[in-house]
């Protein structure tokens, strides 16, 4: 019997073929099957006959928004920097998007990385993506040769074992605590919408660390990042990390050293997380791709929590809103200037601040 994801795969292929055949888009960003169990390959299809390579399954852990700006520029007619922008509309690109990926596309639109009118968002509600590491951890010392995916179970097969495990039990932590699994921006919908999830403790993992003493937190931090090899997979897979020159690569001044010194490594992770503050959608790509199994997502998750508590913001929820952490409304808590009495944190509900504040005296600036 066809699973939910089989049906979604068929719908994606049909939709992609239609979009490419009619010429509405020049390319579609999706996934192809991987060469190993529980893996997929990002795939850009440009011809209708390639569409049957597209797949959708529970292992789509990368955030496809990472590829969007580059694929958009790949379908433009090449021109030099000082040549005028062509007047006719530029070719469009379609992209598969779950809740968090679509929120990252919203951030890209807000940050003017991506022109809204050139993107066709093919929205797929996420049922939570499975962590390959979690599945592997259930079978220590044994190799997993195939994983068959059902709607609620995974059948894991090795050389001398076959076991059925509950799918939700191995879904990634970020998906388990996700409140917005359905895309916030949809041009074409695939499958059924997924309802918002009510999670009473979305930041429980962060709180467990926050509750510890300073020494215990430091011990957690040093142990967690001790095995970092500075391959920057977490940075490169992140749709937010697109600086032409990353601060780790700056030479004059050189912000941090190139070796595995714990201070340099720690600084890289802390600074990168702060660069994502107010923009991170907790898509979990960074954690999923780390070859050393480091949970650097805890840093961005902590900042997501702070941003929500201080500013009432969750990134990428409203396409029409300006980029929220670039506004300076007078009611903002001043946590940088410290010689004043602490300003009480305004009790705002999430997203209330999303519109442009209308109160007089506001010095909000649009990006």
């Amino acid at each position: 019997m066809a699973t939910i994801n089989d049906k979604i795969t068929d719908a994606i292929r049909a939709q992609a073929r239609k979009l490419l055949e009619t010429g509405e888009v020049a390319a579609l960003i999706g996934y192809a099957a991987g060469s190993l169990p529980m893996t997929v390959k990002p795939l850009v299809v440009r011809r209708p006959e390639e569409c049957d390579r597209l797949v959708w399954n529970t292992f789509c852990v990368l955030n496809l928004a990472t590829y969007l700006p580059e694929v958009l520029s790949s379908v433009e007619i090449p021109r030099d920097l000082r040549d005028p922008k062509p007047e006719e509309p530029q070719a469009k690109v379609a992209i598969l998007a779950t809740g968090c990926w679509s929120r990252n596309i919203v951030v890209q639109i807000q940050e003017k990385r991506v022109a809204r009118e050139r993107v066709v968002v093919v929205g797929v509600g996420s049922r939570g993506m499975v962590s390959r590491a979690k599945v592997k951890a259930l079978f220590p010392g044994q190799e997993i040769l195939t994983v068959e995916e059902g709607d609620h179970d995974l059948v894991v097969q090795g050389l001398d074992f076959t076991e059925t495990i509950n799918r939700w039990s191995v879904v990634r932590d970020n998906c388990q605590t996700c409140a917005h699994p359905d895309p916030v921006l949809v041009d074409i919908r695939i499958g059924e919408p997924v309802s918002e999830r009510k999670n009473p403790h979305p930041y429980k993992q962060v709180e467990l660390i926050e509750q510890r003493s300073v020494d215990e937190r430091w011990a957690w931090f040093t142990a967690e990042f001790a095995t970092c090899i500075r391959c920057y997979a977490c940075r490169n897979v992140c749709p937010l990390c697109y600086c032409p020159t990353c601060f780790v690569d700056d030479a004059k001044p050189q912000w941090l050293g190139k070796s595995l010194d714990a201070v340099d490594t720690g600084l890289f992770h802390i600074l990168r997380a702060h660069h994502c503050a107010g923009r991170c959608t907790d898509c979990g790509a960074c954690e999923s791709v780390c070859p050393m199994g480091i949970n650097m997502r805890m840093l961005t998750k902590k900042l997501n929590k702070d941003v929500l508590e201080l500013f009432g913001i969750e990134a990428g929820m409203e396409p029409e809103a300006p980029l929220q952490l670039t506004m300076y409304p007078s009611a903002s808590p001043e946590f940088i200037v410290t010689d004043l009495a602490p300003v009480p944190v305004p009790s705002r509900k999430p997203f209330e601040s999303a519109g442009i504040p209308s109160a007089e005296g506001d010095t909000s600036c649009k990006p």
Binding site: G34, S35, L36, T39, V40, K41, P42, L43, V44, L62, T66, Y67, E70, V71, S74, G141, Q142, E143, L145, L159, T222, A223, E224, A226, T227, C228, I229, R230, C231, Y232, A233, R235, N236, V237, D249, G257, K258, S259, L260, A262, S288, V289, P291, M292, G293
Partner: protein
Amino acid sequence: MQTVMISPAELDALIEKWQTYYAVYVPALAKPAAATTDWAPGWRRFVEGEPLILPVGPTPASVKTFYFPQPETLLSFSLEENHPDKGAMREPVKSQGMQVVLGVRPCDAASVLLNQLPFIEDPLYMANCQRTALVGFTCTSRLSTCFCTEMGGSPLHSAGLDLALSSLEDGFILEVLSEKGEILVAGCNLVPASASDMAGLTARRQGAAPGDSVQLQLLRSCALNRLYEAPMWQALGEACINCGACTFICPTCFCFDIQDEVVQGQGRRIRYWDSCMFPLYSQHTSGHNPRGKKLQRTRNRFLHKLKYFPDRFGPFSCVGCGRCIGDCPVNIDIREVLSDLVRCTELE
């Protein structure tokens, strides 16, 4: 060189003995405390009394970190006035003691020999070779990502190891393969392996050394330009995110950069791991980057392993450990790259 029998209990005793004289490292299968990694991520210092558990297939991190540490101090200096080292570059005092790396697989042992080809005149690398003893285990099973045989290796090879252990029903055959190996087993009263056990091992090894496969021979004879201009790089470069994961976990990727680090007037010149996946790797001072595009960088990594290195040194610069296949964030599979390249040598 001798071949002896050793029981698991005797092996444990031997490891504990080494630990009193040398720095002994074992694969870290869980997250080790920062203090026990000695800046060799994926490894940890052996702790007395703990059982040695080896993963199936290669160790999580390759052995290159012991030969090609990240970073290695080349020279030290001072920028402070009146300091005796002002204006002078000093060679650092290096650790001379032997380090024993336990649990190495034949693929990693082969990588050490391969890396010696470009590093043969490098005194620091060769000094690390001198002081590192590899104690390896031949493979009894392989992972689905293992492809050493396709790269001309074998799961039963012992080349590059100082001590090679091959399991039998009730223990191991221990082959002592070098002077360092002799030192490690000196004073141990071990029973020489029986003729039948040795014959059994030899028989298992026979037929397990295929050399260049047909695929590799095709690559060897194919003109570089043809491979360079293969259409397959387009899709590969598009999917690659240009992180350094594959290059840093690869046992045979050895590219480095050099820079001076100064902290409070005291400086050191370090050599640290670099990756051809990073744009900075090939960037010129002028700002021009001859490998400015993702596609060009992805292509460089594979062609270096499968064309440039064999053209320059002879063997292919890949031992088939399969780490990159398992850890690539976007599932770029070097076996698929290899067969796609072979396919384009065949197309007219």
